[in-house]
């Protein structure tokens, strides 16, 4: 009986493997698979739904370009510093190749897109990180672009919105990555003293050096359902404290409960919500 039991398990496992193989074989680009419920949706339909799974409501990661398209009034976006890129300051082996690969993949020069535009006619400076580029990690370029964007917002006296999506500081640029945390935070201090609004939007995932700098410093901190947000990695914490962590640990909901977020906003309500906040601050 015990033997049969194992065979059955094996069979189930095989069926699952076949199933996922079929799913993996679906032509890329045409369909999108939800990483939460595995449901397959037309990419077009997914995009219309702001990359939120129509079946389970899972918020999938989206590119910086898509986020800006969803949020900024058509034809109003002007990108800043598009060409800024890393010069591999530590001469880190293999880093240049990895950058090249991600540049090709994302058509971006680094992990953040910055610029200005309008949200329902209200002007903003905006930065959107893209987790497809080196996991959205922050090196010199990300730090510099964000700092320049903040300085632009100060100059123009308009609000700054930043969507973070990052695994943290970029290891390959060593201590220079670490210092970007101070640089961006110092710029936000300058901006804050001018009485200007900073909205931090912490999207999946926002961890490490990014969560421990500008992402936590919004006048208003917003997140999306179930986004992962935290300082230290789950595995590291489990190793340190030698106990298992609750399932909702470091989710947006966990942070809201612990007083670290102002609100969690479903992506579909993102634009309306931001418009209201911007409007209140513009009067």
């Amino acid at each position: 009986m015990l033997k049969n039991f194992f065979t059955k398990n094996k069979l189930i496992k095989q069926t699952q493997e076949v199933k996922s193989k079929i799913i993996d074989n679906v032509p890329k680009g045409l369909f999108g698979k939800c990483s939460s419920c595995n449901n397959i949706t037309y990419t077009k339909e997914l995009k219309n739904n702001l990359f939120v799974c129509p079946t389970c409501g899972h918020h999938m990661p989206i590119s910086a370009k898509d986020r800006i398209e969803f949020l900024i009034d058509a034809g109003t976006f002007i990108e800043y510093d598009k060409k800024l890129s890393s010069n591999n300051p530590l001469n880190f082996e293999g880093y240049k190749d990895k950058l090249k690969q991600d540049m090709k993949k994302t058509k971006m020069n680094d992990a953040v897109m910055t610029g200005e535009g309008k949200i329902n006619d209200l002007p903003v400076v905006i930065g959107v990180m893209d987790s497809n580029f080196r996991m959205g990690s922050m090196g010199s370029v990300v730090g510099e672009k964000i700092t320049r964007a903040i300085e632009k917002a100060i100059e123009k006296k308009i609000p700054f919105i930043l969507f973070s999506a990052s695994g943290g500081a970029r290891m390959q640029e060593g201590v220079l990555s670490l210092m970007q945390m101070a640089k961006t935070s110092a710029a936000l201090e300058k901006m804050s003293k001018q009485g200007l609004l900073f909205i931090s939007y912490l999207t999946h995932p926002t961890t490490g050096g990014v969560s421990a700098s500008f992402a936590s410093l919004g006048d208003i901190n917003i997140s999306e359902p179930k986004a992962l947000i935290g300082f230290a990695g789950r595995r590291i914490i489990e190793q340190t404290i030698r106990q298992e962590l609750p399932d909702d640990f470091q989710t947006a909901e966990f942070l809201l409960k612990n007083g670290q977020l102002d609100m969690i906003v479903p992506r579909k309500e993102m634009k309306d919500n931001l418009t209201t906040i911007l409007k209140i601050h513009s009067l």
Binding site: G143, M179, M181, A186, L188, G230, A232
Partner: protein, 316 residues
Amino acid sequence: MTKETNVIEELEQIELKIAELKKFSIEQNIDLSDDISSLQTKFKTLQKTAHERITPWERVKLARHIERPTSLDYIRYLFNDFIELHGDRLYGDDEAIVSGIALFQGKPITVIGHQKGKTTKENLQRNFGMPHPEGYRKALRLMQQANKFNRPIICFINTAGAYPGKEAEERGQSEAIARNLREMAGFTVPIICIVIGEGGSGGALALGVGNHIFMLENTYYSVISPEGAASLLWKDSSKAQTAAETMKITPPDLLELGAIDGIIPEVLGGAQKNIPLQAEYIRNQLVKSLTELSKLDKEELIDHRYNKFRVMGSFI
């Protein structure tokens, strides 16, 4: 034993020999000045190579040395009338950070530092110098107080990193660090930061936004621990030694990258060999720095700090 230790042992032997010869020459009234001076030359040459020959990993080991002087050690030698102040007024008192007010060369200052222990018992009490959010919030409270009373802030950095724990996350470790970075940028008093041991990532930087930043000679300052880097890069934490070299984490590296202002020399063999003397080296730098920064007015101090961090980074 490592090469470096051999050099240090050799130096100690020469030093002893010189002392012996001097004693002998006085006692016996014999002129040995030629021998003594040749030994002294040898000592100086060897001393120079000793400082140059030390590897990044050896620096990391010295930075973590169990007998390495802590913030409280330096506070004892550098300041008068030190009064420790406790608590963040929000949650608790984190003993991984020590802070208080004192006099330095007769003038009031606020001093804040990571605090490690030298025994297991002490380390448990100090959580191995790895702060929780309340530690950073205590530091912030003390810095705000310093700002109010217009006294310079001196920060001693010595942590493997902010504590990675469940409660730390619940109480907002990220927010606590981030807020310190922002607030430190806005204070109108001189801030001087000195890495006296480990400069572990964001947990170190949270006391590190200063007008002047120095590192003792045998310390490191890094975005990730050498072990962490090794396990991420090569899935093998035992390659920490290689990572220590690749990641460019030593004082000369940071000076070259423009991340620090200078290196404070260490007594031979590491700061733990002669704490009072090491404190004197730190005192010299503090006096110089405070004199320099006292020439700046409140707004200039903010600008000075801003411009310092503004230029950090490298890109095309």
